[in-house]
Amino acid sequence: MSNNAKLPPGFRFYPTDEELIVHFLQRKAALLPCHPDVIPDLDLYPYDPWDLDGKAMVEGNKWYFYSRRTQTRITGNGFWMPLGGDECIYSSSSGQKVGSKRCYVFYVGEPPEGAKTNWFLQEYRLPDSGTSAGSSSSRSSKKRHSKMDYSKWVVCRVYERNCSDNEDDGTELSCLDEVFLSLDDLDEISLPN
């Protein structure tokens, strides 16, 4: 990823839900510059998820981009089907609601038919106008009468869920480690190493 070339090795784009909304979506909606400006705007993109490479920002096996709120997300070869309801995202400092997250799963084919895939999309949105919270409200209200309603921005994260997700990247204990850990309890002569 060229955008984080200035970061030393090991730094990766792993934003929390809150960060995506507060640092990226609120600033975008408030027309404030994003530093670093790493997430591209794909508008109402017609791309299939596997075509996002090179267009959206990629980190690991996840792609990030800005888009707009829309009722139907239809792409070249399929569509995104909502999965479950909205999940509220709260500020970790104030506890206030800063936005919400909605999940989609990608179907290949024409709605309402189609074949389900392993591609998932998480769409982060700001609270609806009127209830819009936080620092963005004053800014966005200023823009409310302009042509574009910036509260319609969303930020999306797309990823493919597959078996390799549970590969050992060293950040957690493997099942094997857990077993050895529990076997340690049997070792009555527990000398420190």
Binding site: G10, F11, P36, T171, L173, E178, D184, N193
Partner: protein
């Protein structure tokens, strides 16, 4: 982009220090060992003996973003007076190694090892295990292809030694998934209370080729998990609470790969053995014939079928249907394996002697050559499972390994090397009865 780290630093929003193991070793530790300047002071030096795990997060903060793991360099120079082992004791407790060391590769070339340690509060042998886990990464001793290190070795030959010198560590708190813990602790309590057979089987399987053994073990655990999850399923059904079951499935993704978890939690005797056989076949495919043979010997389908304990299987099913506790199948499994081994033990006269010999040994630090001999005896005297690495590898591995021994009813004696194999691609498992 403004970043300075470990000071008043500002990591750009959304970015986290989440290095791969390769980056930790190949970039950070290599530079550290070579005393080369690292662009940013991301990873600090700490004195492990003076730092309690709960203080690490403050000391090793990177920027202001929330962190789940913390990194530091540590210099291994303190030893216990009585031996060669590194002293990792702090004021409040000590770090104790667990499991086997894992080989770290870079471009399919071996570059170093990872040791897993757990923090115990208090003093050995009465330490109280905590949720603090440390992964300690060290570079290989002779990195001949590593120009950075080898040039440095000419200046100071001790610099890149594996036992002394710099290591890079990652500390994190073990996650306690509320459901997974229940299920996992069921497994572990089964393991620790009267079901060492299963534990030994696992361990034996874990001794296989390391590239495939983790996945292989996950499958075994998954299979065991199916037993415990299945009993959960029964209670779930009783409570008309399938959601609970779904939760279990979500937090335990490996278990999802197993067939017939929901549809038929208690397969018929035939399908159980078939499933076992399928598991063996699947897993053996990734192993050398020798390794595959090791596990096949432990759980050979034919032996299972011929075993008198096969009669236990209908009981399993009945227990499942009747909503019995998950313990029943463990008892059955225990008996099954025990009957196999007892039968084997009666075949070979020397086995008993071997067992007594082992029994009278000091439990730790006994002569590894003797153990080799015992295993050879075992190989000759009966067809009990015994997989060996070649002797040289074994010795290399054993020099720093923690041997774990278990006694069953004062009779059966299981031993297996449960840890640091410096070359875990070699099969290293001992299962003697």
């Amino acid at each position: 982009m403004n970043i300075s780290v470990n000071g008043q630093s500002q990591v750009p929003p959304g970015f986290r220090f989440h290095p791969t193991e390769e980056e930790l070793l190949h970039y950070y530790l290599r530079k550290k060992v070579a005393s080369k300047k690292i662009d940013l002071d991301v990873i600090r030096d700490v004195d492990l003996n003076k730092l309690e795990p709960w203080d690490i997060q403050e000391k090793c903060r990177i920027g202001s973003t929330p962190q789940n793991d913390w990194y530091f360099f540590s210099h291994k120079d303190k030893k216990y007076p009585t031996g060669t082992r590194t002293n990792r004791a702090t004021a409040a407790g000590f770090w104790k190694a667990t499991g086997r060391d894992k080989v770290i590769y870079s471009n399919s070339k071996r570059i170093g090892m990872r040791k897993t340690l757990v923090f115990y509060k208090g003093r050995a042998p009465h330490g109280q295990k905590s949720d603090w886990i440390m992964h300690e990464y060290r570079l290989d001793e002779n990195n001949n292809n590593n120009t950075l290190v080898s040039s440095l070795e000419e200046e100071d030959p001790n610099m890149s030694s594996g036992e002394d010198g710099w290591v890079v560590c990652r500390v994190f708190k073990k996650k306690n998934y509320h459901k997974a813990v229940e299920s996992c602790s069921q497994i572990s309590s089964n393991l620790s209370h009267g079901h060492p057979t299963a534990a030994a089987v696992i361990s034996a399987a874990g001794g296989g080729s390391s590239n495939s053994s983790d996945g292989f073990l996950d499958r075994i655990l998954g299979y065991m998990g199916r037993s415990s999850s299945s009993s959960s399923l029964l209670s779930c059904n009783n409570n008309n609470n399938r959601q609970e079951m779904m939760n279990i499935q979500q937090v335990l993704p490996p278990f999802m790969h197993l067939p017939r978890l929901l549809e038929n939690p208690w397969p018929t005797p035939t399908s159980t053995t078939t499933a076992t056989a399928a598991m063996i076949n699947d897993s053996s495919s990734g192993l050398s014939p020798e390794d595959g043979g090791c596990f096949a010997a432990a759980c050979d389908e034919d032996q299972l079928v011929r075993s008198p304990a096969t009669n236990e299987f209908p009981k399993l099913e009945a227990a499942g249907g009747g909503g019995g506790s998950g313990l029943t199948d463990w008892v059955a499994l225990d008996r099954l394996v025990a009957s196999q081994l007892n039968a084997a033990a009666h075949d070979g006269g020397t086995t008993t002697n071997v067992r007594e010999d082992l029994f009278s040994f000091p439990l730790l630090h006994h002569d590894h050559q003797n153990q080799e001999n015992h295993n050879n005896n075992n190989l000759r005297s009966n067809n009990t499972v015994s997989c060996r690495s070649n002797v040289s590898n074994h010795h290399q591995a054993s020099s720093s390994s923690d041997q774990v021994y278990m006694m069953v009813n004062g009779e059966d004696f299981w031993s297996f090397a449960g840890s640091p194999s410096s070359s875990s691609s070699d099969p290293l498992c001992h299962l003697s009865a």
